[in-house]
C-alpha cells in the first residue's frame, strides 16, 4: 500500500526526536505566554520555558487532566484569540460537566492530514465511496473522518449515526465501499443487513471503527459478517478526535503520528514514566496544536507502546489496543475488573457463536458487591434440552470466574433484549453509588 507522506511517516528515530524536541520547546513557550493554567503550573514547579530544550525534557513538565477542561470551561485553555478559532467540538458530558475544545484552520488541516495518512495506508483512494456513520455534531467522530476522506478525494456520504434501515439502504444504493462507525454499531449493521437479506447488495471492502473498545474476536466477526477488512482508529476529542493513532494495512497496532503527538506511558498510581513495552496509562502531548494545545494529558487509557519496526516501513510508534480505561475499571469485591475481560470470555464461549451482546450489572447487597452478567441467547446456542442450556450457563460462569477471580451470576436473556445504542454501547450498570 502507498505511504502518503513518506518523508514524515518513515522519518528515522533520530530526526524524529530532534523534530519533536523543537516542536515541544516552541509549544511550551507559546502556552506559557497564552494559557494561564499552564503558566501557573510551570511557575509552581519552578520551571521556565527555556528549561525545555529537547524531547527528553518532557518528563519535567506538569501533567494536565480532564478536570482542567471542566475548570476552565468553556474557552479558558485556548491558546489563541477566539477570532482564530474556526471550529469547536464538545463532549456529551455523560459523566458530569461538558468539555469544549477548539481548532484553528491549521488544526483542522492537520486533523484531516492524520486521517488521510491512514486512509492512504489502508488503500482508500479517490475511487472509494466512504459512508461516515459516526455522529456528526459536537462529537468529533463524524467531522473527523469526513475531513480525511475528502482530503484523499474519496466520495463522502455524511450519514451520521442512527436509523439503521436507512443506513443499510444508503450503503447499498450509493455503493459505499468504506464504512466508518463504532465497532458495536458495525456489528449491529451487519446483523440487521443479514436479517434484511441485504448483505449481498453491499459493496463494502473496508471498515474503520473506533471511539469505543473492541476485541480481536469482534474484529473477526465484523470482517466475516460484512466481508470487509476492519481497521482500528484511536483518538480523543481533548487531543484532536479520531486519528491520533491508526492502523496500517497490517492491523498490528495503531501508529501514533509522532510529528503531532508525543506519547508516554506512566504508572497511573505513582505517575512514574515506564519503559517502552510496559502497560500503563497513556499520556499525550500535542506538539503542533494551536487552538487547544495540551501538555502531558492524562488520557486514562490503559495501553502499551510498541517501538519494534512495523512491516509497513513507518517509524512512528504503535499503540497497542487499549485494554480499558482507568475510569472504566470497576473494583468489585476489591478486584480490578475491566469490562473487556468479560467480553473476551463471551467471545470464546462455544467457539465464537455467541452474539457478544451483554451487560454487566454491579450492585451492593448486604455490604457485598454483586456481579450479574446478562448474555443474549441465540438460535445457535439454544437446544431442546435443559441440560445443555444449563451447561452453557455454567460454562460462561466458570470462565468468567477464572478470568476475573470473581464469581458472577450469569443470566441468559432473549435476543435483542439488551438495549443497543446506535452509538456507544451501554455495557456496565453500576448501582452501588451511595450504598455501603
Amino acid at each position: 500500500m502507498p505511504i502518503r507522506q513518506p518523508e514524515i511517516e518513515c522519518l528515522n528515530a533520530e530526526e524524529l526526536k530532534d523534530m519533536q524536541g523543537k516542536l515541544l520547546s516552541s509549544q511550551v513557550k507559546r502556552m506559557y505566554e497564552n494559557v494561564v493554567c499552564f503558566r501557573g503550573r510551570m511557575d509552581e514547579a519552578g520551571l521556565k520555558p527555556d528549561d525545555i530544550k529537547c524531547i527528553e525534557d518532557i518528563g519535567k513538565l506538569p501533567f494536565s487532566y480532564k478536570s482542567d477542561l471542566r475548570d476552565y470551561y468553556p474557552f479558558g485553555l485556548f491558546a489563541v484569540p477566539m477570532k482564530n478559532i474556526v471550529r469547536t467540538h464538545a463532549s456529551s458530558g455523560t459523566t458530569g460537566k461538558r468539555i469544549v475544545v477548539g481548532y484553528t484552520a491549521k488544526d483542522l488541516d492537520v486533523w484531516s492530514d492524520c486521517i488521510a495518512r491512514m486512509l492512504t495506508g489502508i488503500g482508500v483512494t479517490d475511487d472509494d465511496i466512504v459512508q461516515v456513520s459516526f455522529g456528526y455534531g459536537l462529537f468529533t467522530g463524524g467531522f473527523g473522518l469526513h475531513g480525511g476522506a475528502e482530503k484523499v478525494g474519496a466520495t463522502v456520504i455524511p450519514m451520521s449515526s442512527g436509523n439503521t434501515a436507512l443506513q443499510i439502504q444508503t450503503m447499498a444504493d450509493f455503493g459505499a465501499t468504506v464504512l466508518c462507525c463504532t465497532p458495536s454499531y458495525a456489528m449491529h449493521l451487519g446483523e440487521e443487513a443479514k436479517r434484511m437479506g441485504m448483505i449481498d447488495s453491499l459493496s463494502l471492502r473496508i471498515g474503520i471503527f473506533g471511539a469505543e473498545p473492541w476485541t480481536e474476536e469482534m474484529r473477526e466477526k465484523i470482517e466475516e459478517t460484512l466481508h470487509i477488512k476492519a481497521y482500528d482508529i484511536y483518538g480523543l476529542s481533548e487531543i484532536m478526535g479520531p486519528g491520533v493513532a491508526e492502523e496500517c494495512e497490517y492491523q498490528c497496532g495503531m501508529h501514533i503520528w509522532e510529528d503531532h503527538f508525543y506519547p508516554e506511558i506512566i504508572d497511573p498510581d505513582t505517575c512514574e514514566r515506564l519503559p517502552d513495552g510496559s502497560t500503563g496509562e497513556l499520556v499525550l502531548t500535542t506538539l503542533t496544536k494551536e487552538g487547544f494545545p495540551l501538555i502531558r494529558y492524562r488520557t486514562r487509557d490503559i495501553c502499551r507502546l510498541n517501538r519494534t519496526p512495523c512491516r509497513c516501513g513507518r517509524t512512528h510508534v504503535r499503540l497497542m489496543k487499549p485494554q480499558g480505561r482507568t475510569d472504566d475499571m470497576l473494583i468489585i469485591r476489591g478486584v480490578n475488573v475491566f469490562p473487556s475481560q468479560i467480553e473476551e470470555v463471551l467471545m470464546h464461549v462455544s467457539g465464537n457463536i455467541i452474539t457478544p451482546n451483554y451487560q454487566i450489572i454491579v450492585d451492593r447487597v448486604n455490604h457485598t458487591d454483586t456481579l450479574d452478567v446478562l448474555v443474549e441467547m441465540s438460535r445457535e446456542l439454544f437446544a431442546d434440552n435443559v441440560k445443555s442450556v444449563e451447561n452453557l450457563e455454567k460454562s460462561i460462569t466458570e470462565q468468567i470466574r477464572s478470568a476475573l477471580g470473581l464469581s458472577p451470576r450469569v443470566h441468559l436473556v432473549n435476543p435483542n433484549s439488551i438495549i443497543r445504542s446506535e452509538g456507544k454501547a451501554k455495557r456496565v450498570i453500576d448501582k452501588r453509588e451511595g450504598k455501603i
Binding site: 437446544a383 431442546d384 444449563e390 441468559l412 436473556v413 433484549s417
Partner: protein, 143 residues
C-alpha cells in the same frame, strides 16, 4: 408417528409465557399441548401447534428463540395399564424416555401422548409393533 414439536427458550422474567401465547393467538396458531420445563435461570416451553413453522417465524420476529424438534406421538388405549405397556416395550428395546406429556387432539378427539426418547427411530418401530391406535398427520396439523 413422528411429529414436529416447537421448543422455545424463555428467559426468567415475569410475563414471558404470556407474551408468547398472546403472539401465537394473534397469529391464529392453535396450541394443542404445552409443557414447561424450568430451572432457576430460564425455561424451555415445548408445544404441539397446528403450524409449527409459522409459529417459529412469528416468535423469531418478536425476538423469541424457538426450534423445531421431532418427537413421537402415540394414541393410547384408554384402559388401566395402557401407559405401562408402552413403557415396558420401550424399556425392553433399551430406549430411554427423556420427557413426555399428554394432550387431547382437538382435530380428532383422540387422547395422545408426546414422547421424546434418546432413539426416536427405534421408539417408532416399538410403537408400530405395539397395540396402539394409529394416528394421522391430520390429527395434529392444519393440512
Amino acid at each position: 408417528m413422528k411429529i414436529k414439536q416447537l421448543s422455545v427458550f424463555l428467559e426468567n422474567k415475569p410475563g414471558q409465557l404470556c407474551v408468547m401465547t398472546k403472539l401465537l393467538a394473534e397469529n391464529e396458531i392453535n396450541i394443542s399441548a404445552i409443557s414447561l420445563a424450568d430451572t432457576s435461570g430460564f425455561g424451555i416451553v415445548r408445544m404441539i401447534v397446528d403450524d409449527p413453522e409459522k409459529a417459529q417465524s412469528v416468535l423469531s420476529d418478536a425476538g423469541i428463540i424457538g426450534m423445531i424438534t421431532e418427537v413421537s406421538a402415540i394414541a393410547m388405549n384408554d384402559v388401566p395399564g395402557g401407559l405401562s405397556s408402552v413403557l415396558n416395550a420401550l424399556s425392553a428395546a433399551q430406549v430411554n424416555v427423556e420427557y413426555m406429556y399428554a394432550f387431547v387432539s382437538v382435530r380428532s378427539g383422540k387422547a395422545l401422548m408426546v414422547v421424546q426418547t434418546d432413539a426416536i427411530e427405534k421408539a417408532e418401530s416399538v410403537f408400530q409393533s405395539s397395540d396402539l391406535h394409529a394416528i394421522s398427520p391430520s390429527d395434529i396439523y392444519r393440512i
